[in-house]
Amino acid sequence: MKISGPLVSARSLSKQFDDFVAVDGIDFEVRPGEVFGFLGPNGAGKSSTMRMIGCVSAATSGELRVLGLDPATEGPSIRARLGVVPQEDNLDTELSVVDNLTIYGRYFGLSRSVLRDRVAELLEFVQLTDRADSRVDPLSGGMKRRLTIARALVNEPDLILLDEPTTGLDPQARHLVWERLYQLKQQGVTQVLTTHYMDEAERLCDRLVVMDNGRIVDEGSPAALIERHVTREVVELRLSEAAENEAIVATMASAGHRTESLTDRVLIYADDGDALVAHLLAEGLHPVSVFVRRSTLEDVFLILTGRTLIEY
């Protein structure tokens, strides 16, 4: 069943637990075929939002439509068409890899004969065919994640929800997961994901919203957000003394540059980082280290909220 409008739409969506407001009146739309991201630090309200979209948590107020239906009344029919990759793996550790996928397909009412072929295809897709009869426990973190992704695809969902899909994985395992998600995107599968990794958001998302304290602070494509809020490049300076930090921040600010002073370094935003560095060195500055890089969503987040995405 295809629907023409947005796959998810939210208006003033809120979620409150006792006196804690987890999601504070957010608006967004997820369009067919796109990868839509929620970027924000831990506790920003991303997972609560995902649970509402996944119809396992009721909205406190506001309006939510998933696949054109109301989660309050049609939860089971919506869930039948979703694939969910939760933040914490909840694979069935008492079952083998292949049984995990088969029983999950049965939860969706699929017949055993349909599942036999589909499970084999999915294992192939996530490169776990040779582990089909293994127990889940001995699998690596990356393999478990891939198995969870395969499980989320067992009902051929119209929409996949991925909550922090690569948190806790080593770089190689992350790349394998990203490859699979990119392949799904190529096949036109709509994905909604949360992440606090800016590289993940930049790599995967067509469009994203930046969340902080339960609110959406901005939205757009990664490139548009970077262009809107920061310059093309960033100069990261480490100076030997804190007093020098303050001095350089003051000088740069008065020269019209946007700056951020972090505990261990100073960021100066510039369209041409190398030119700025050359200028600073000519002025007689002796930094401990200098690093010029392209601006990222991390910088966007820093400027929008005054905080870093990952708390150091």
Partner: protein, 260 residues
């Protein structure tokens, strides 16, 4: 609640059980044999040698139906505490189910249905051992199986609801010590209620196990107790009421846990 969704919860258990069934089948004959040999043959032999009977029955005939209901209750207690919390916390497989079209109530009921199936098998094993030891007086004894299962399910319905409200397993040993064990000992399992001080008897009437034991004893002896059919209806009614309370509580507790 949807029947096919409930059966998928059972299907998961069957899938796990497939690998374990040999051990479980064997162990299902072990505990009834041990209990019946110790209490029925050992202790019972002593009582019979002194020329005593209990309510006109040999001690083995008296204690066998009590033990049948009581061991079913023990199994149900274990199955509705740790495994339930594992589903929510330690392994989280209930959360996986909750993301599918299943409803939390389906998950709760599915687990109960599976416990009922397990209990049916273990009660049958008990009955076979008891028959071999000569503890069974009547073919009506087959009805002791549904009686023991209903009794144990009523407790499982309440306890699995309780388990769904827990964050840790700290309270489970307390439940075993202060609820299951006294119930096990003082529900006319090992001696008639008339042995209890009159003031304590009403407490036994609250015990689901007492109702289960009475029903089982009626069945294995083929004789209705003083209350006749009205008493039978009363026992069944109480056990069904406990089950119904458990269902309402469990349905809410599972929903709160899986969908908030």
């Amino acid at each position: 609640m949807a029947t096919d969704a409930v059966m998928r919860v059972v299907e998961r258990e069957v899938l796990i059980y497939r690998r374990l069934w040999r051990g479980v089948v064997f162990s299902q004959f072990v505990s009834p044999s041990l209990y019946l040999l110790a209490m029925g043959v050992g202790l019972g032999g002593l009582i019979s040698a002194a020329g005593n009977t209990v309510d006109g029955l040999s001690y083995l005939e008296f204690v066998a139906p009590g033990l049948m209901a009581a061991t079913a209750l023990q199994t149900a207690t274990g199955e509705s505490m740790w495994p339930v919390l594992a589903g929510f916390k330690w392994m989280g497989f209930y959360h996986g189910m909750a993301a599918s079209p299943m409803r939390p109530t389906d998950v709760y009921v599915g687990n109960l249905v599976w416990i009922a199936i397990r209990l049916t098998a273990s009660s049958l094993a008990f009955l076979i051992v008891a028959t071999l030891l000569g503890a069974i007086l009547s073919p009506w004894a087959v009805l002791a199986i549904p009686a023991a299962v209903l009794c144990a399910v009523s407790v499982a319905a309440l306890l699995s609801a309780f388990s769904a409200t827990q964050e840790t397993d700290h309270s489970f040993p307390l439940v075993m010590r202060f609820l299951t064990l006294p119930m096990f000992l003082f529900s006319a399992t090992f001696f008639p209620l008339s042995q209890l001080p009159a003031a304590l008897r009403p407490l036994a009437w609250l015990s689901p196990l007492w109702h289960g034991v009475e029903l089982c004893r009626d069945a294995t002896t083929g004789t209705l107790s003083a209350g006749g059919w009205a008493a039978v209806a009363g026992h069944v009614g109480v056990l069904m009421a406990y089950t119904a309370i458990g269902f309402v509580w469990g349905s809410r507790a599972f929903t709160r846990r899986l969908a908030t």
